[in-house]
Amino acid sequence: MSYSDGQIWTIIAIMGVGTYLIRFSFLGLVGNRKLPEWALRHLRYTPVAVLPGLVAPLVLMPNPVTGDADPVRIAAALATIVVGWWRKGMLPSVIAGVITYGGLQYLL
């Protein structure tokens, strides 16, 4: 590794402080003031706007062997979404995803 110990700890420290400030930002500085309605309207969609995008590349990631998108991953992701949406719960959703993933990997 081409960095001095001082440089490595600098990276760690600045990343730590920066990440903390990012996380603290609104929660700390806006505090108990009420955000305007338009802002709340956007924020209501934060989880469904971030989480699918966070995992989409992992679901559609090409299989290292075939070079194509992996149908097993896609099927497992769809099963997770459909069951989670239908049952409105995390646990049935996870079970559906794991069974689909494991089952198809075993079969294919």
């Binding site: 110990d5 990343m15 929660l27 700390g28 924020l43 209501r44 992992l58």
Partner: protein, 233 residues
């Protein structure tokens, strides 16, 4: 935070966080392994895990360090990966904004993907929770995950790659996060935001790490909010 309902909320959060241990522990161990293989000391690997406590950005930093990217480049890319957490912070504000400062400061430290996703899903399902119950739930959700995250990194850093053979966790994380997001698809606006997020992330995949997701999330939030505005809630 001493009332019975807060204790109950803390315990509920603890149980809700439990499935994520199965992902978090190997993920943390993997970081410990990668970091020491890349040439970091055990103390430095632990420094990342305890001071930064954000897995994806830690992997990004170590990856760039193996490519000998300049210090500021490493920091900028890794922080870009974490920018989405500003949105988590803003999204939690209406729920936890009136909590005491020390609780908000603590929540900020442990506001990562899993704890945010678990907690916001719970808040949406149980809108009648008080602020102190919401804060207790959040802290409960990470009460085991955080020490496990530290311990996993340590074991990975010390033991190297001896343990990892046979673990296939790469697809556990997508399943867990989709399982949290799917029940939140309550309206057409939510569904449209989720679909937009996926399409935009793929379209923007050429952008530097983290920034594509951030822009995609902004677009998706705007789509959701606009549909809500036109149709009414």
């Amino acid at each position: 935070m001493t009332s019975t309902t807060s204790k109950f909320a803390f315990v509920s959060g603890f149980w809700a966080g439990l499935p994520f241990i199965a992902v978090g522990f190997p993920f943390a161990m993997f970081f410990g392994i990668i970091a020491t293989e890349a040439g970091l000391s055990v103390a430095q690997a632990m420094g990342f895990t305890i001071v930064v406590i954000a897995g994806a950005s830690q992997f990004t930093a170590v990856q760039l360090m193996t490519e000998a990217v300049p210090v500021w480049g490493v920091i900028a890319a890794a922080l870009a990966v974490n920018l989405r957490m500003a949105m988590y912070s803003a999204s939690l504000q209406p729920h936890l904004g009136t909590a005491p400062l020390w609780q908000r400061a603590l929540v900020a430290y442990i506001n990562f993907d899993a704890s945010y996703a678990i907690s916001i899903a719970h808040y949406e399902k149980e809108p009648s929770l008080s602020v102190s119950e919401k804060a207790a739930f959040f802290l409960g959700s990470v009460s085991l995950m955080t020490p496990i995250w530290f311990l996993g990194t340590y074991i990975g850093a010390v033991a190297g790659d001896r343990f990892l053979n046979g673990f296939n966790i790469d697809f556990a994380m997508p399943i867990l996060f989709l399982a949290l997001a799917a029940p939140m698809l309550k309206t057409l606006a939510h569904l449209a935001a989720a679909v937009t997020s996926v399409i935009a992330v793929l379209a923007l995949s050429g952008m530097p790490s983290g920034t594509g997701l951030l822009l995609a999330a902004f677009i998706a939030m705007a789509v959701g909010a606009e549909i809500e505005r036109r149709r009414g809630r």
